[in-house]
């Protein structure tokens, strides 16, 4: 289904998002594939149980054999029989800076992925299409690294205390003022881990008697934060505004279940870019709904901050909206800033409340000073305050790379999910065997990609995910595209039935529409 929406003037630019339907034959073959694997899984389990085959799992201690078993056998069925076969596609160890090209440590397995040994050889200059390095700030030389080195020699690596006790350094205050300025909000607070930012602050904002409306495909940290808060959670279909509106109407009209009391507050949890789908949230419509039904919006910009918008301020700028409309703007520093940690920005009352009542402020160690310095330097670079135009150039380069790469892949005939402007590009694989094959074939050709299967995605929708970066030049992208084309032909991955007419080389212009022929 292809949406090109201009919903009543809410959108100032075309919103092109596509999730092509799985072809019927492919779906059937995928199920057959999983069926065969499950049968073989049972067979191997049977053989292991009757000692025909050696069991290579780690086992319980002799002294504790009569304790209640720690793991259910069935829980691990998927792990033992399906995941173990293609385990070498994940946890690949690298030994250089995770920039556009990366060095990987070679590892081999002589017992079908049960154990790995390192040969000691290093595979050099693998093109890195898996790291979240959107603006190319993962560098080991340059202004950011030098500033971080200076702060490291002055402050040391750790902090050894919490924010509320003795861990609030002057660097943290500087960072928070800068983040607030960057986002265009009144005030901001920074935390040491992006995952923990969600799981520790959502419980501080909502509690029992409140309602959380969360998108179907929200990240594990948002789901955990929502669960820990104790509020009622209702899920709306992914990016579907009719579903969200229906839930809002029902909630206000009918109140809490059974007692019918009105809800204390309603919080909508959405993400800027969904990392498995590559879709962008329909923010103008969400804000219109939020204002109509008087609820609060929590926007998780983990992937979209720095990556969207003409000056990299995220999805709010991308749609040309006012940052004050979003009640809680959350994001992480891991992806576009090349550091680690998360932040929350919003009105001063909100941040004062979080300074007092956030779990992280009271119990968790504050951020490490060199990491803080990296964020400060890279943020100033993006804003142009360091006197150069590097930041601006990188944001433009990322946008160009995104559009070029997506267009070329669609022309080749692959099924690509997601929005045209999102730097996360999921390429559908579907069949379980192709997951491992794609990863290995691309590595043979010196390109590192990320492949994902169940349980991160629905069971038949496994995919390969490319993360574009401003550090990728056009030549690198062309090489990658050539290899992807070759592997796509080899593995028969070109499932798309809508052939796009290749556009003549036009300059990148936002009002260009795709021409499709059926």
């Amino acid at each position: 289904i292809n949406h090109i929406v201009h919903n009543g003037g809410l959108y100032k630019r075309p919103f092109n998002e596509a999730f092509e339907e799985t072809p019927m034959l492919v779906a059937v073959l995928t199920y057959v594939g999983y069926g065969v694997l499950t049968l073989f899984g049972y067979l191997r389990d049977f053989m292991r149980q009757w000692k025909i085959e050696k069991c290579q799992n780690a086992t319980e201690r002799e002294e504790q054999k009569d304790f209640v078993p720690l793991y259910q056998d069935f829980e691990n069925f998927y792990n033992r029989n399906l995941y173990m076969r293609i385990r070498d596609s994940w946890n690949r160890p690298i030994c250089s800076v995770p920039g556009a090209k990366v060095d990987m440590m070679e590892r081999v397995s002589h017992d079908y992925n049960w154990t790995f040994t390192y040969t000691g050889r290093v595979i050099k200059d693998i093109m890195n299409m898996g790291s979240y390095n959107y603006l190319g700030f993962a560098q080991n030389a340059g202004a950011c690294q030098e500033a971080a080195a200076k702060v490291l020699s002055q402050y040391g690596a750790g902090v050894c205390s919490t924010r509320q006790e003795m861990g609030n350094l002057d660097k943290h205050e500087e960072l928070e003022k800068l983040v607030a300025r960057f986002l265009g909000v009144e005030s901001a607070m920074a935390y040491g881990m992006g995952f923990a930012t969600n799981s520790m602050n959502i419980p501080a904002l909502v509690g029992k008697g409140c309602l959380i409306l969360s998108d179907e495909l929200n990240h594990a940290s948002l789901v955990l934060g929502a669960r820990l808060s104790g509020a009622t959670i209702r899920i709306f279909k992914h990016n579907n505004m009719q579903s969200l509106e229906k839930l809002l109407k029902d909630a206000i009209v009918h109140g809490q279940p059974r007692t019918r009391r009105p809800w204390k507050k309603i919080l909508i949890l959405v993400e800027g870019i969904y990392s498995m789908e590559g879709s962008i949230v329909r923010l103008p419509e969400v804000i219109a709904l939020k204002k109509k039904y008087k609820s609060y919006l929590y926007l998780d910009e983990a992937h979209s901050i720095g990556a969207l918008g003409p000056t990299g301020r995220g999805v709010v700028e991308y749609f040309g909206l006012n940052p004050e409309d979003v009640d809680v703007m959350m994001g992480t520093f891991t992806k576009s800033f090349g550091a680690a940690g998360g932040y929350i920005g919003g009105k001063k009352e909100l941040i004062d409340y979080l300074r007092t009542y956030s779990h992280s402020a009271a119990y968790a160690t504050s951020m490490s000073p060199p990491v803080v310095e990296q964020i400060i330097t890279s943020m100033k670079c993006i804003m142009g305050e360091d006197g150069t135009t590097i930041g601006e150039a990188r944001v433009q380069q990322l946008a160009e790379n995104t559009r070029y790469f997506r267009r070329r892949l669609k022309e080749m005939g692959f099924i690509i999910y997601g929005n045209e402007d999102s730097p996360v590009v999921p390429l559908m694989l579907y069949m379980p065997a192709k997951i491992g094959a794609f990863g290995r074939e691309m590595l043979k050709r010196n390109i590192g990609v990320v492949v994902v299967g169940f349980p991160a995605t629905p069971i038949i929708e496994s995919r390969a995910r490319f993360c574009l970066s401003a550090a990728h030049t056009k030549e690198m992208l062309d090489t990658a595209l050539k290899e992807v084309n070759e592997v796509g032909d080899l593995l028969q991955l070109k499932y798309s039935r809508r052939r796009l007419v290749p556009l003549l080389d036009r300059p990148f212009d936002e009002t260009t529409y795709e021409e499709t022929e059926d």
């Binding site: 780690a58 086992t59 304790f67 209640v68 078993p69 720690l70 994940w90 946890n91 160890p93 690298i94 250089s96 800076v97 995770p98 990366v102 440590m105 898996g130 790291s131 390095n133 993962a138 560098q139 080991n140 030389a141 490291l152 020699s153 040391g156 690596a157 750790g158 902090v159 050894c160 205390s161 509320q164 006790e165 003795m166 861990g167 609030n168 002057d170 881990m193 992006g194 995952f195 923990a196 799981s199 904002l205 594990a220 955990l224 820990l228 206000i252 009209v253 009918h254 008087k294 609060y296 004062d352 409340y353 007092t356 402020a361 009271a362 119990y363 160690t365 490490s368 060199p370 990491v371």
Partner: protein, 456 residues
Amino acid sequence: FQAPAYHLILEGILILWIIRLLFSKTYKLQERSDLTLKEKEELIEEWQPEPLVPPVPKDHPALNYNIVSGPPTHIITVNGKECINFASFNFLGLLNNEKVKSAAQASLKKYGVGTCGPRGFYGTFDVHLELEERLAKFMRTEEAIIYSYGFATIASAIPAYSKRGDIVFVDEAACFAIQKGLQASRSNIKLFKHNDMADLERLLKEQETEDQKNPRKARVTRRFIVVEGLYMNTGDICPLPELIKLKYKYKVRIFLEESLSFGVLGEHGRGITEHFGINIDDIDLISANMENSLASIGGFCCGRSFIIDHQRLSGQGYCFSASLPPLLAAAAIEALNIMEDNPDIFQTLRDKCERIHKALQGISGLKVVGESFSPALHLQLEESCGSRENDVKLLKRVVDYCMNSGIALTQARYLEKEEKCLPPPSIRVVVTVEQTEQELDKAASLLKEAAQSVLN
């Protein structure tokens, strides 16, 4: 042959009923069908939510942070005043160590700052693998796993093993991270009185009688005991040998949280198992954070491969979060090197703790809470003034007096509404190897003075 008439009639009615069901609208239990569209719109107009956050009073004690200018080392500049640091958990003084800083610098030059990905997707660096190996070797276990945030370590480890329906026996004084891990696991929590083995045994016996009523359920219900080596909230240690006996008697697994005791207790700093001389394989999982003795960021869990390997796919803070920045991992490795090369610093630290513990006895109005060899002590009011708010204000005055005279202290901070068993307000006193004997004596005498002037 003909079917009897009533048979045909009955079948006819059945078919008509099925057709009716197929074409009738779906029946929703919650739909209040007596509301018109206009009434619904009025309800939507009238509904007023609470404000997103309630206002916080300007003088709330936790709102105004101390601002530390410069590194939080032995001599610390707090709010513009230079003081001796008795508040940061820098037990072994490794925060300012030149070797640690140069190892981190080398790593920064090679890898940059961030890892730009979780462990599964090109976020595993050789430094991470090396740190895990070194930690496993140091603690003499099979395997170790690193997390990028100290709080998330135990909060992700517990839900990976304990699920809905399992039973966890946990000490009342367990820290907040453990409480959050237990909440995320949705298991049955049974609290036992702090360090009271008799109470724990009573709970275990009760569970045993429950099991006999329903043996089939008991066979699949996992049981765990979660304790800390050195409790953050009370400063004392858990009686590990008795716990091991209870473990084998009632077939319960033990999870040990060693954030404060790692690098403090034991001859070589291996924690409470070395302190009591217990075989490390008897403990199922040891979890600690690297933010205290190792003066880095992050945390680790160690134990047998059978147990630790499971967290690589089910630990939420491991799979769904970016990995630890390499410079912090390199700093931790160098800190471990220093710990292994100088095993006498642990005894030096313990001697200093004994000294200040003795020196702080007998202050009128304040009592010392914690073991004599614990580097993180609490000073609580002997008599409360009536309300927690007033106690906090009084302790703040003591802390301010000390800060004005050059000793940096802090109150122990808690989230009052969220803790299960809220400890009484207290001043935290932290001992590090870098403090000289004169400084320890000065701190003790200053606290005596402060207590005299404020509390009398």
